[in-house]
Subunit: 474 residues, 2 copies
């Protein structure tokens, strides 16, 4: 693509828009905004980092970029796992860190209106004070709402409560022209023209800048319990998941993890989980407002698990004991990824297909002689799969890894699954998009991109290339 | 638009595709498919009615229509209320009545896969046999799933369970080119490219033919109770709704109705509701699996209602007594619309704004000297507003009605509401679209339409005109 550079004239306009202190071109800042949390991920320096504080400023920045044909990448907290926020074409990086106001918690309509840069755990804390609950729960709670919208983040609570998409009722978004779209709002029913909100959700910053979000909230359940269930066999753990759901029990979360993931996480964060001898574990959260109903469900789940070879069922019902388990769960990713050559594969398959799918992944692991660790959201079919380099040479690794990825994606597709369940495609998974989507779907998506962003300045070359410059695995 | 007619050559191709008995050109059939349930609505004859039985046939029909530039209108049960399925440009009318198979009720994944022509009440019956629940509950239970997808239908249960959109996980849809899109599937998490499913949902047959739908199901609650609550004042009824929700109680449904609607419905269907002396009524459904929890909620709701001037709170907990109430509720629309000059306005506003909004509607009613009856989904802000002609002359009525509609839409917009909550825009509300959506949003929608349907053969002139031939109320 033929982009222009951020020259002095552009810089001085930007300074005029948002002030000198919010226009950063020093090396340390550019470096800090050059990567996300994708393991051993690509780094790419932006030419300038911008920190607007309101929508009007975002609008002026975008229309300047559009007029000058300068690429713009949006960034929340940079916790993405598919290089979505890495400014691979240089240009402007717009960070939403200063747009971090919770504008309203509306207790009459059970909604919150927030700026894109609000941090997830701040939002949750704020609404929980009022007895309300924002259930979308990506593993990374320091992520920002805007980023969550960008990838249609999912997380733990999907089994019962769904994804970010299910909670977005309104969006304010800015187009490259600088025009501001006000979509939806505090209305729960809408049948008025095509659904642009859902088009922007999950578009990874390629269609518009999301500046403000209206989110649905629900009543905070008064009771939570967590079950920690070690199994002697991986298949027993996974089979229990299907049976729990088939028994019409809907836990808040059902997380699955292999022993090695727990061991590596414990090593890293210095906390201990009970039982280290079992092959696989389920961590199950239940919520509700009635004690006996909740423990009944817990009993039923225990029964299912014990029938499928669970070694024990440990029940955590104090806040502290539950937090201990979920803190370790939240650290799994870091545990197995930090300082290692690892890939993160984020397929989602129909829940009932998880046993076969994981078996197939283990077969792939044996065939290539590459260790693959699995954990993830078994209750919703979204398993994170982590091939590790370990003792392989860099050459062998770089030969084998793309083949492994391709095989895992094809397997997921064959089972009716997707390429990405919640991390998004970004740059990291772009090559594999066409395993998941057919040519006609991608053609339509490219045409949609052109409507929103005719000069291709918004996060160019993420999800797909308008000009087909990347060779796709077909 | 410059469309071609369905000539003999086209007819004989169609007969070749789907058989003579499924290609209807007789006057009686054309007449039967020329209207929907919009009161005193426009009629327009198609040139041919087609009854394909599978996706392949739909694909062949569409690609023939595209090659010959013949308009195509899709029709489910024809229960729409905005003229969406009326073939105003003639051409082919594709009825999905023969594509009525429930292909699968998947008890492992809690999903159903159905053809577009499956009737809602058949689907519900089938899944309820298995202890499962499809909660999307449009008033018209004889409607078809495909039509529900077309308008993003809502209905009664939105308070707790959301709209049709919230239950669609996969779609099979056919483009005018004949290409078949397989979108999503039995996967509950997906972050893989732009969301085309949600673009097609609510697009009222203007983007693609929906042929197959994968729907999320949930566990069927074991207990339901219904409260029937007469109020001396309309404001007391409406105020109770906000307070119930503010108290963090989430009923399945909260329906609001004025006395006159009940009286007219009783007259029509020959069933009686208790209490006829009160100005307004709430009908509230609760569901759950725990008796005492459910009755606790019922008690709390009673308390709120009585504090706000409820005359009584009648509890129906047998299946029969509840059905009696909900059968009458389902007949409201017919009760006040049949054989009368009536308009149906389907605005949705933030729940907390309902009291002010209804007051404003009543003011509009007085100012124009036109009776306006209201009922609808108070729990989700979607109130159906029915101006009636009564003794007005046709001239007066046709002068006043557009002004009333415009004022109601502007009021809804001012309160943060929409033009249509669940009926869709179709032809009937097209003039008013720009009160709800700004020019840029409509521009984007038109461009999206061109991607899917470049020759504008799919349900032309619904929602908006590609060629701006209708003058919009701005």
């Amino acid at each position: 693509m033929n982009y222009n550079k951020v020259n002095n004239e552009v810089l001085s306009s930007l300074i005029g828009f948002i002030g000198l202190e919010n226009v950063k071109t020093d090396g340390a800042t550019l470096e800090k905004y050059s990567y996300d949390e994708t393991p051993h991920g690509l780094r790419a320096l932006p030419e300038v980092v911008l920190k607007p504080e309101n929508t009007e400023q975002v609008s002026r920045i975008l229309s300047l970029a559009e007029q000058n044909r300068i690429p713009v990448t949006f960034r929340g907290q940079g916790t993405g796992l598919s290089l979505g926020a890495v400014p691979t074409s240089g240009g402007m990086l717009v960070s939403f860190e200063r747009m971090n106001r919770i504008l309203e918690v509306d207790e009459d309509n059970l909604m919150a209106v927030v700026e894109a840069g609000v941090v997830l755990q701040d939002l949750r804390r704020e609404v929980e004070k009022r007895g309300l609950f924002y259930p979308a729960d990506p593993g990374e709670r320091t992520s920002m709402v805007g980023g969550n919208v960008g990838t249609n983040a999912g997380g733990m609570n999907c089994v019962k409560y769904g994804k970010v998409r299910d909670y977005v009722l309104g969006l304010e978004a800015v187009l490259p022209s600088g025009k501001i779209l006000n979509l939806g709002g505090k209305v729960v029913k809408r049948s008025t023209g095509y659904e642009l909100i859902h088009l922007i959700i999950g578009s990874e910053g390629t269609l518009a800048a999301v500046t403000k979000v209206t989110l649905k909230l629900i009543k905070l359940p008064s009771l939570f319990i967590t079950l920690y269930v070690p199994f002697n066999t991986l298949q027993g753990a996974i089979k229990s998941v299907s049976e729990i759901l088939r028994d019409r029990i809907t836990p808040t979360a059902i997380e699955f993890v292999e022993r090695d993931v727990i061991l590596e996480t414990e090593n890293r964060i210095g906390k201990k989980m009970p039982n280290h001898d079992s092959e696989a574990y389920l961590i199950i959260r239940l919520d509700g407002d009635n004690d006996s109903l909740l423990y009944d469900e817990g009993e039923k789940i225990s029964g299912v698990c014990l029938r499928n070879g669970a070694v024990d069922v440990l029940v955590a019902d104090t806040k502290e004991s539950q937090n201990n388990i979920w803190d370790i769960r939240s650290a799994f990713y870091e545990g197995i990824v930090k300082n290692k050559d690892v890939e993160v594969i984020d397929t989602a398959v129909p829940r009932s297909k998880i046993p076969e799918f994981i078996l197939e992944v283990k077969n792939i692991s044996s065939r290539y002689g590459v260790r693959i660790l699995c954990f993830g959201h078994a209750g919703d079919g979204n398993i994170h799969i982590h091939p590790q380099r370990n003792d392989l040479s860099v050459e062998e690794w770089s030969k084998k890894l793309p083949k492994i990825m391709e095989e895992v994606y094809r397997t997921s597709k064959a089972y009716g699954g997707t390429i990405s369940g919640e991390h998004g495609i970004g740059l990291a998974k772009k090559k594999y998009l066409q395993i998941g989507l057919d040519e006609e779907q991608i053609r339509i998506m490219k045409e949609i991109k052109k409507i929103f962003d005719p000069n291709n300045i918004l996060n160019p070359n993420k999800i797909f290339d308008i000009d087909d410059s990347t060779e796709l695995v077909r």
